[in-house]
């Protein structure tokens, strides 16, 4: 019996050389009429559902922009909420078409998980959240402290590196779900909670009883470029996902906004804007999309700057400064390759 199964497994290994279909993601999306987008189960500012099941956040806006560019309708998104542990298999297996769930771009993930990162929607760094009353001013003074972490993230490893480098002997308490980790932190089980600084801001504002009772320590202990990812093996879909993001960033650079995009498309004589809006060159055709794909995307969610301001910027509860996420010509890192 066992031998039979092993025999079949070996046969399977040989038979697995049949050609795989590549470039089919776009077709299947058009056929299904919706983009399946993997999002966070609930992280204010990034992806969060209200009680009616309406999703919002910067990660969600990217999904909407993608749906608008591909299908012409930002509401044609199927949101699949995923835990950190579920996200990669969900993408690998085709349960979702794109993973937009503040995921850190690392070499290991790029090279061994069978996924491709599209770009960076948010430049972040890992930090620590501590109660004000603990009087901790610097992460380096937390010797021997217990720290609550969510499993399945780059966070655990970063913290270990930092703890070793500074001889801090930090003790992690690792939870499967973020609610459990923050719950344990707020009950006082841990001296600190660690995740990306944006996530800390989100947790502090949404979940702390009084946000002023908790402080994010100044040290950022890692680089966390967060961005969407797609499945490997479909370069056409990879290109669409990549250039939708670049398009949103470049739109901001050239001042194309949700409000003025129609006017710009109709009247602008700036050659760059005419290219982005599909007025002069048909970049959409090269990607397998409509000519005005970028116009639809910007009309749906605004440009990158508008996405940032609406969801996480200084005017929102999260109150995150633009910082590294400003345009390259304004002192930030957001630099999109040109659409041409």
């Amino acid at each position: 019996m066992k031998r039979t199964i092993i025999g079949f497994a070996i046969a399977a290994a040989f038979l697995a050389s049949a050609p795989v279909f590549a470039g089919k993601t776009l077709d299947s999306i058009k056929q299904k009429g919706q983009v399946a987008c993997g999002v966070h189960t609930g992280l204010a500012g990034f992806s969060q559902a209200d009680s009616q099941g309406n999703w919002s956040g910067i990660d969600v806006d990217y999904c909407k922009a993608l749906a608008a560019a591909v299908l012409g309708d930002a509401s044609k998104v199927k949101y699949v909420p995923l835990t950190a542990a579920q996200r990669f298999t969900a993408l690998q297996s085709g349960e979702i078409d794109v993973l937009s769930r503040n995921t850190t771009w690392t070499l290991t993930r790029d090279a061994s998980l069978g996924i491709n990162f599209v770009g960076v929607t948010y430049y972040d760094g890992q930090g620590f959240l501590v109660p004000v009353k603990s009087k901790v001013k610097s992460a380096k003074s937390m010797k021997g402290a217990t720290v609550c972490v969510q499993s399945g993230t780059t966070t655990e490893k970063n913290m270990t590196d930092y703890s070793r480098a500074n001889k801090l002997d930090l003790k992690p308490v690792v939870f499967e779900k973020i609610e459990a980790a923050t719950g344990a932190y707020f009950s006082g089980r841990c001296a600190a909670f660690t995740t990306d600084a944006s996530g800390l801001a989100s947790v502090r504002n949404k979940e702390a009883k009084n946000p002023a009772d908790h402080v994010i320590l100044p040290e950022l202990i890692s680089k966390e470029p967060l961005g969407p990812a797609v499945r490997r093996g479909d370069d056409e879909w990879f290109a669409i996902a990549k250039w939708t993001l670049f398009g949103l960033i470049e739109s901001e650079e050239y001042g194309i906004t949700q409000a003025n995009v129609d006017k710009m498309a109709a009247e602008s004589t700036d050659p760059v804007i005419m290219r982005i809006t599909g007025k002069s060159e048909d970049t959409g055709k090269l990607l397998g999309l409509d000519k005005d794909w970028m116009v639809k995307a910007v009309k749906a969610v605004g440009n990158y700057g508008e996405m940032f301001e609406r969801n996480v910027g200084p005017k929102t509860a999260l109150n995150l400064p633009r910082g590294l996420n400003n345009q390259w010509n304004k002192g930030g890192l957001q630099y999109a390759p040109p659409i041409r």
Binding site: M1, K78, T83, S93, G183, A208
Partner: protein, 347 residues
């Protein structure tokens, strides 16, 4: 007079028994008033955060239940549509209740199951006149009851085949069934759920993987079928060999003999053990919260973790859903006792 002798016999039979009674009475005298104070007299029943905060440590805050009960019971299901899961659950519970009572055991029970399930899914999913509600918004008690009922309804027939297979004279079939049962019974349910939730999509062609709810149901079914099969096997073993030989000599085929002679007897024997296992199934659906389906346990976390004002009163929340689980499980265990008596009576 009678009462006094009962007290003497049961509470003060000898000095040991007497001192135990006195000890418990003293403990009760100290702690029961405190407990009552906390749970009733000092408790806050109004959904008022400030009053709850003020009573912290001295009185329970049942206001948290008043405030959040809809979120706890129905999870993320859209607020305005919550009458649908409520109605669906009531229908399903009615069906289950009817199926448990002898008077209703008749031919129309089968179509009733089909109709009620169809109604249940129509109400939950929407469509055909109702707003469509995707399955990832289902949660709370309806999900708990749905998952356990489907798991039971599917695992039970499967388990009969597996149990027969394990007792089969055909070596290959016997091996397959034995390996299946022992493998499944050797691993924790959560590993099966991880497999259904994280791994299974990898086993299927790209984009062909079913919805996570379906995968979890399949996982639960396969898991419990192995346990139920062992119970059924116990019943099969209790059937005297002579019955099978008699069936054989009447010229019945294997399946005829099983269906008409063996199974009716074997299943009657194992009914109480079966119902006890149903309790376990019901309780263990709470594990699906670990793979992010928000059934009752998960929806409590959902309701309270994200709300800083009410989060400190999670203990009251846990006590509330513990009471819900207890009600269902206790009712089932009473039913199991009753049916045990019925079975004993019938013999």
């Amino acid at each position: 007079m009678k009462r006094r002798s009962w007290i003497r016999k049961n509470l003060f039979a000898d000095w040991k028994s007497g001192s135990v009674t006195v000890f418990f009475l003293l403990v009760a005298l100290v702690y029961v008033p405190r407990l009552l104070d906390w749970a009733l007299f000092g408790a806050v029943f109004a959904p008022n955060v400030d009053a709850c905060q003020a009573a912290r440590g001295t009185g329970a805050c049942w206001g948290v239940i008043v405030e959040k009960w809809r979120l706890i019971i129905f999870g993320r299901y859209p607020f305005d549509e919550q009458w649908r899961p409520a109605l669906a659950t009531v229908l399903l519970l009615g069906l289950l209740f009817a199926s448990c009572i002898r008077r209703f055991w008749s031919a129309w029970l089968a179509p009733a199951w089909v109709i009620v399930w169809a109604l249940f899914f129509w109400l939950m999913r929407g469509g055909a006149g109702l707003t469509p509600t995707p399955s990832d918004l289902w949660g709370g008690l309806p999900l708990t009851i749905m998952l356990s009922t489907i798991a039971i309804a599917l695992a039970f027939p499967l388990s009969i085949f597996v149990a027969l297979g394990r007792r089969s004279r055909l070596p290959a079939i016997r091996t397959i069934c034995t390996v299946y049962i022992e493998l499944i019974r050797g691993v924790p349910l959560i590993s099966i759920l991880f497999m259904a939730s994280f791994l299974f999509p990898l086993f299927m062609p790209v984009g062909k993987s079913p919805d996570v709810l379906l995968r979890v149901i399949a996982g639960l079914t396969l898991f419990w079928a192995a346990y139920l099969a062992e119970i059924v096997r116990g019943g099969l073993q209790a059937i005297p060999k002579g019955h099978l030989e008699a069936a054989d000599s009447l010229g019945l085929t294997y399946w005829q003999a099983q269906r008409k002679v063996v199974l009716p007897q074997a299943l009657a024997i194992v009914v109480p053990a079966m119902v006890n296992n149903f309790i376990a199934i019901f309780k263990d659906t709470s594990l699906v919260t670990i793979v992010s389906l928000y059934e009752l346990t998960g929806s409590l976390g959902l309701a309270l973790n994200s709300d800083a004002n009410w989060r400190p009163f999670k203990i009251e929340g846990y006590l509330f859903i513990a009471a819900v689980y207890f009600t269902f499980c206790f009712a089932m265990s009473r039913y199991s006792l009753w049916i045990e008596k019925q079975v004993a009576h019938d013999r």
